[in-house]
């Protein structure tokens, strides 16, 4: 369906990534946000708290990130699109209830404007070192979807997609911005509401007597209902059966956990989103995401001037990882070069998927700034040798 125009600030704007993310959420129909202030993400909720009262949205500043994520998980069960916003230290606290949302299969969006870590790290400066945490941060086996915007425009566009993916697959979606994108201001075009497609809550048509909250449909995603509509359903963070009742057994664990993994795995081709440039015939393919994807393109230009055939693959959706595509490319290229503002995270995934067919070369940056494109260029040239 088309979105609710009340949340859409149609026009050509000059916005930073945080504001654009907030606008994307409102344009997607998000009407509940709970959060706890943390640099460099705070502008997202400042934007939302200023605009929500005019569109029927409620923002609440909770006492901490544990509460923020719990409130979002609760709110999502009313059918209201819900989101929380944080940075590394808060992301760590949210992991508990991100796991709950994954286990209860609760659609919601978690924005992490990444700064340098670990611990308090570099509050005002860029990092991309929470990428593995986004995938593995809560305990147990589960899968989420994670995306990484490279510009304020994408912070707007992809936030809408994040809400749509959350609804489609009943998962928490990690919106992995970085401080650089969050705090850079650029042109952001917000279209008319009738150009914005949103996925509303797909409510079950079953009667309360027939409805089971975890009985699957064709694509492995159970139908949902809203709290307050008379279904009197039950849900739990415990391992559960199709009725949502706890069942402590190895057999049920196998079924339950397999399914919350499979609903992503089996739909991976629909979820994965990458952008490629000149990968055919390339000797080296650079894999990057977020702000690093932009800087990497400068490194690629420099390397091309030195005669290296370089392709580029940008991870728009970071998790699930485009395993199949990396495997294909690994058979054709000498090496992947992976610049990221951490000391080696997504490169591990590239290396795993390349499975020895091609090298995976990390171009690390500990955080606090972006790469010097010349360093990326040097890594490309070296990898092509």
């Amino acid at each position: 369906m088309k979105t609710d125009p009340k949340g859409v600030l149609t026009g050509v704007h000059y916005l930073d990534g945080d504001y654009a993310c907030g606008e994307g959420a409102m344009a997607a129909g998000c009407r509940f946000v709970a959060g706890y202030p943390i640099t460099p993400s705070t502008e997202v909720v400042e934007r939302i708290s200023r605009r929500f009262p005019f569109m029927g949205g409620t923002f609440i500043q909770m006492e901490d990130e544990l509460a923020s994520m719990a409130a979002v998980a609760g709110a999502a069960w009313t059918g209201t699109k819900s989101m929380t916003v944080t940075s590394g230290p808060g992301f760590s606290l949210m992991m508990e209830n991100i796991g709950l949302a994954a286990m209860m299969e609760t659609p919601c969006v978690v924005v992490n404007v990444q700064r340098g870590g670990p611990s308090t790290g570099l509050p005002t400066m860029v990092g991309q070192a929470d990428m593995m945490q986004a995938r593995w941060g809560s305990h147990g086996d589960y899968k989420v979807i994670a995306m990484s915007p490279q510009s304020p425009q994408e912070a707007f566009d992809l936030t809408i997609d994040a809400f749509n993916l959350a609804e489609t697959y009943r998962v928490p979606v990690m919106f992995m911005m970085d401080e650089c994108v969050g705090h850079m201001t650029e042109k952001v075009v917000i279209p008319d509401a009738d150009e914005i497609d949103v996925v509303p809550r797909a409510l079950s048509k079953k009667t309360p007597a027939d409805y089971q909250p975890y009985a699957v449909n064709g694509r492995g995603v159970p139908e949902m209902v809203r709290a307050g509509d008379g279904y009197r359903f039950h849900t739990t963070g415990l391992t559960h059966d199709d009725r949502g009742y706890p069942e402590m057994s190895a057999e049920r664990q196998q079924i339950n956990v397999r399914r919350i993994m499979d609903k992503i795995l089996l739909n991976v081709d629909d979820i994965v989103r990458i952008e490629e440039e000149d990968v055919d015939g390339a000797e080296v393919v650079v894999v990057a995401y977020g702000i690093t994807a932009r800087v990497a393109r400068m490194g690629i230009d420099l390397a091309r001037k030195q005669g290296v055939k370089v392709g580029f693959l940008r991870l728009v959706v970071v998790w699930p990882f485009p395993e199949k595509r990396i495997r294909e490319l690994a058979a054709a290229v000498k090496a992947f070069v992976v610049p990221e503002i951490n000391l080696g995270q997504m490169v591990l995934e590239v290396e795993r998927c390349a499975a020895g067919q091609a090298k995976a070369v990390l171009v690390p940056h500990a955080g606090g700034g972006v790469h010097d494109p010349r360093v990326i260029c040097d890594a490309i040239v070296e990898a092509a040798r």
Partner: protein, 296 residues
């Protein structure tokens, strides 16, 4: 139906419609007090004549944390300590819901203590029923923030020396609009108290003292279920309206019960709506009662 020829059918029990009878028997030990509190709540729901379709119940983790699992309501069995913020999200995103939290002392005042005080401070529009058995039951009798001084627990085997919370005082001093305490022996009074609380607004807090005969009672040699009920009978006194500073509970000491606070004061939602209405006038669009969900 012949009542004499067959054992009674559990589904004929007056509160069966409020329970998930397909989940019976429950996990609680014989002589545990939680079941009685659930019975009181179900009765209160019936007497208060609330629309059950609009009641959502949220629990955390622990013995009392299982209550949501047995109530035939929209029910959320969440993470340890987070029932209050989860229930807050439900309420704010669909304000017509009666959002009830049902959980234990360790869950709500230990790991969830920060949420408890902030929800009370905001006078958040939720009803919180806390069953206090002075101990962490499900994990095997460890010390709780409510364990009385000198009482033994599995992690204070020589007796507890930490000062416990006075929970009604904590709730009242943070701003709760309704604060009561009963024991699970006070069935009629507790039921009435719950019924009243369902008609009140804001942060409503009911502490129910209940026995854990398996752990707390055994570790402290307090006897079986009957002895525990007799203790409540002999040692609970009712003092409505008493200053909550006076309602500390010492080990095997008097348990002061009653309705301590029952004040009409603006709730979080009322304050938010009134404030935005005043500041923004007609431009303010409140969250619809049925939630801010996208639909045709």
């Amino acid at each position: 139906m012949s009542a004499t020829a067959h054992p009674p059918n559990p589904n004929d029990h007056p509160i069966a419609p409020y329970l998930r009878m397909d989940r019976m028997p429950h996990i609680w030990c014989p002589t545990c007090g939680i079941g009685t509190v659930v019975k009181c709540f179900a009765t209160a729901l019936e007497e208060a004549d609330v629309d059950l379709d609009k009641v959502a119940i949220t629990s955390g983790i622990g013995c009392t944390g299982r209550v949501a699992g047995y109530m035939k309501l929209d029910a959320f069995h969440t993470t340890h300590g987070r029932a209050i913020p989860f229930a807050t999200g439900l309420k704010l995103a669909r304000p017509e819901l009666e959002s009830v939290v049902f959980s234990g002392d360790g869950d709500l005042s230990g790991i969830g203590g920060n949420h408890f005080i902030h929800a009370a401070r905001r006078n958040m529009d939720i009803l919180v029923i806390l069953v206090n058995n002075f101990i962490y039951g499900m994990t095997g009798g460890q010390n709780a923030p409510t364990t009385p001084i000198s009482a033994k627990s599995s992690t204070m085997p020589f007796g507890n020396f930490e000062r416990p919370f006075n929970l009604p005082h904590l709730a009242a001093s943070c701003g709760a609009s309704y604060v009561s305490r009963w024991t699970c022996l006070h069935i009629r009074r507790l039921t009435k108290c719950m019924r009243v609380a369902l008609r009140r607004k804001g942060f409503r807090f009911i502490e129910v003292i209940a026995p854990c005969s398996t752990l707390y009672s055994r570790l402290n040699r307090l006897g079986g279920g009957l002895e525990l009920m007799r203790f409540y009978h002999d040692n609970a006194t009712i003092k409505h309206g008493i200053d909550t500073r006076e309602v500390d509970i010492g080990f095997q000491d008097t348990i002061i019960c009653g309705n301590f606070v029952d004040e009409e004061k603006p709730t979080f939602l009322e304050m938010m709506n009134a404030h935005y209405g005043k500041v923004l006038g007609d431009r303010y669009v409140p969250m619809p009662a049925e939630g801010g969900w996208l639909h045709d």
